[in-house]
């Protein structure tokens, strides 16, 4: 037996070495295709960045790829000007308020409801849960007109709060769905023993459910953050003076050709934050995506 093992292993190794070389050469076209496709995919974003660091007068006559022949044309002056632009600074602040506020509220309210649906008993629980899932089908366009009226009536039109609450409501069905299904998977004896120990529901929720549910909560939080950071339609409808960055840039689009030195850097600023979030939490992002293909 001991002698047989290496004799089996040896030819296997030789074959794999030969196969490796063969595979490497056979794969050359594949690598080439992937490099070209990858380049194609990165070019638009790269072009936006280069456009954002070129002075307006250079952009009037030649495209952003002039940077190859005139690397010295690059300048941070567009960005400098923007960081002294009160409108943009306000827009960034508003965007942050909306994104953070929405994320916190969706996570807290969604986790509470998810916990109730997973572990608390009350009559009609399952029907109610099905109802909440059913709300996933409601496109937000269904609520724009009524909420526009309602906000007007209650005098909260054009406030950060009104935009946040709209986002929270439309984020909840998926949040509840995701978290309830995750919480249900928490082992029953952990819950039972906590209850036997006399822990209150609030204590169980804070000390047990939230920490154990962290992976799902992280995915949800990242998605909610990106969703609201990138939103246009809600803020465009309910904000006038309250403008997040997308709406602020949208206001400049009419003069696309002449204000490209504002539009390009502002757009790039708007996508830096989501990109950082994405790179920092890539794993949760992908998990959330896989779970969230329903939305």
């Amino acid at each position: 037996m001991a002698a047989a093992a290496p004799s089996i292993e040896l030819p296997g190794r030789r074959e794999s070495a030969a196969a490796k070389i063969l595979r490497a050469t056979a794969k050359a076209p594949l690598h080439l295709v992937l490099v070209v496709v990858g380049a194609l995919w990165i070019v638009p974003t790269f072009g936006l960045f280069i456009t954002s660091i070129l002075p307006a007068q250079d952009l009037a006559s030649k495209g952003w790829w002039q940077i190859v022949s005139h690397p010295s044309a690059a300048t941070w002056s567009n960005y400098n000007a923007l960081f002294h632009n009160q409108g943009l600074l306000n827009a960034l602040k508003t965007t942050a308020y909306i994104a953070v506020g929405n994320t916190l509220l969706v996570v807290i309210i969604g986790a509470m409801a998810g916990y109730a649906f997973a572990w608390l008993e009350f009559p009609g629980r399952d029907w109610l849960f099905v109802g909440v899932i059913g709300l996933l089908v409601v496109p937000l366009q269904m609520a724009l007109i009524p909420m526009f009226r309602l906000y007007d009536t209650f005098g909260i039109f054009d406030t950060v709060l009104s935009i946040i609450l709209f986002h929270v409501a439309f984020g909840l069905p998926f949040a509840i769905f995701l978290l309830r299904n995750f919480f249900v998977g928490i082992p029953k004896d952990i819950m039972e023993s906590a209850r036997i120990d006399g822990a209150s529901e609030i204590k169980i929720f804070l000390r047990l459910i939230l920490p154990l549910g962290l992976p799902a909560i992280a995915s949800l939080a990242i998605f909610q953050f990106l969703w609201t950071w990138n939103d246009l339609i809600v803020a465009l409808t309910f904000g006038q003076n309250v403008q997040p960055i997308t709406v602020w840039i949208f206001g400049q689009l009419r003069e696309f050709g002449t204000s490209i030195d504002v539009i390009a850097p502002a757009s790039f600023i708007s996508l830096v934050v989501p990109l950082c979030v994405f790179f920092a939490f890539q794993r949760y992002f992908v998990q959330g995506l896989l779970a969230g293909s329903v939305k």
Binding site: F122, A169, G198, L236
Partner: protein, 448 residues
């Protein structure tokens, strides 16, 4: 530990409640407290608005309800030009995008499966998912600019177009004397020529920077017996000069194709001018000829496709949208691929199946559930597309690029504020989304 096992048994778990546990009513109360905020938001922001919008869609343009109009708003949906355009465009979106996104994602996922630097590739393709559709619109608007000097895509198109249909040496030139006439896109010299003759082809309207490289002082060639000679030159010097006369300070135009034709129009000889603009048709048989400069010399340079114009705007939007979502499709399908039983694939390979056969007969059928998830998700996304269209399509072509969600917004909030028709469009969108999403949820519940 054995105690834990015992309590897990249903009958025992239901037995005596510990003294500290609240009664049934207390437990209901806890449920109500935990649910209250969510239910409040869902009812006020989703249930009430959905009902209101449905009711509102049967009433007129303005006011809290307006006046009853029956299904007039829905009729308008299929009779107003901008709205039918939106529905047609959305049909194109649904027909094109889900299939392409799924196919591209599948190809990328399979191609990267056994490549070591797959993570880098996947990250690059996935990046657009993190960027807002709005910023994507701005990004692609830069790419799509019509002037090939400004828009990268038209710059690329130009280099391709120039290879097949190069722009002329003299794209803006005009004849300097009436002896030279425009004909069929080129210029033809009216004066008949015979062997030993001299053809003077003077042109103007050429900016200094457009003069072909290497041009030197123009020369009027001496007649040669048996040859037709001549010169093509820029018949202009600072101060003007005399038209039709080769003067000092006027440049020859090199590289211009000159044809010698019979009076019937048949090309006998063809040559190119030298640096001083001269050309020489050698050994021309006796007869009467005409000289002309061919149309290709005056071909206009490629002006760029109007990607954001009324005709190409929807295809342009589709390309940008696929650019965003290919990464999503690739990652989801990639996850499905990773979860696939390796033995099945290996077994097929051992049995002598080619890679293509493995892909076609094993991989794709096994992936079918994942592919359908991506496909259905994309249908829903595409039905609701809004941000990309409003940011990428310039205002002048938004009517041509219209889609349902954009039509809804423009109708309700874009100045007219027709809440009746806006509600009807929203309900229409709702009705389109329901069956697709219901399908998705059912599948999802089966999995859970």
């Amino acid at each position: 530990m054995s105690a834990g096992e015992v309590t897990a048994e249903p009958p025992l778990a239901a037995a005596p409640p510990p003294s500290g546990e609240p009664g049934r009513f207390g437990r209901y109360a806890a449920g109500a407290v935990f649910l209250a905020p969510a239910l409040f938001l869902l009812v006020v922001w989703m249930v009430y608005p959905a009902v209101y919008t449905i009711v509102r869609s049967f009433f007129g343009q303005s006011g809290y309800l307006g006046h009853w109009v029956g299904i007039a708003n829905y009729k308008r949906l299929f009779t107003t030009a901008t709205l039918t355009t939106a529905i047609k465009n959305n049909a194109i979106w649904v027909a094109v995008v889900p299939a392409l996104v799924t196919a591209i994602g599948l190809i990328f996922a399979v191609l990267t499966e056994r490549v070591r630097w797959a993570v880098a590739f996947k990250t690059v393709v996935f990046l657009p998912m993190a960027i807002s559709a709005f910023a994507t619109g701005v990004t692609w608007r830069i790419m799509y600019q019509q002037d090939p000097g400004l828009g990268a895509i038209n710059a690329l198109s130009r280099s391709v177009a120039d290879a097949f249909n190069p722009s002329g040496v003299l794209s803006n030139a005009l004849p300097s004397t009436p002896a030279l006439q425009a004909k069929g896109g080129g210029l033809v010299l009216k004066t008949p020529l015979a062997p030993g003759g001299v053809a003077l082809l003077g042109v103007t309207g050429i900016a200094p920077r457009d003069v072909p490289k290497g041009a030197v002082q123009a020369v009027r060639p001496a007649p040669k017996p048996g040859d037709v000679v001549g010169t093509v030159w820029r018949d202009f010097k600072p101060g003007g000069g005399k038209p039709g006369v080769v003067e000092k300070g006027e440049l020859g135009l090199p590289g211009v194709t000159v044809d010698l034709r019979t009076t019937a129009g048949k090309v006998v000889k063809s040559t190119k001018t030298k640096a001083d603009g001269t050309f020489d048709f050698r050994n021309v048989a006796a007869g009467s000829y005409r000289a002309d400069i061919g149309a290709q010399t005056f071909a206009k340079p490629f002006g760029g496709f109007s990607w954001l114009g009324p005709r190409l705007i929807t295809p342009s939007l589709l390309i940008a949208y696929i650019w965003i979502w290919a990464g999503f499709s690739m990652v989801v399908i990639g996850a499905g691929l990773a979860a696939m039983p390796r033995e099945v694939l290996e077994a097929a390979r051992t049995d002598g199946a080619t890679e293509w056969q493995v892909f076609r007969r094993v991989t794709v059928p096994l992936l079918a559930p994942v592919l359908s998830v991506v496909f259905i998700t994309m249908i829903i996304n595409v039905l609701k597309v809004f941000d990309l269209v409003i940011s990428l399509a310039p205002e002048s072509t938004q009517a041509n690029a219209n889609v349902i969600a954009l039509a809804m917004w423009r109708t309700a909030f874009g100045g007219v504020n027709d809440f009746g028709t806006g509600s009807a469009i929203a309900v229409f969108l709702f009705l389109l989304v329901i069956p697709v999403l219901a399908l998705n949820i059912r599948r999802f519940k089966r999995e859970v």
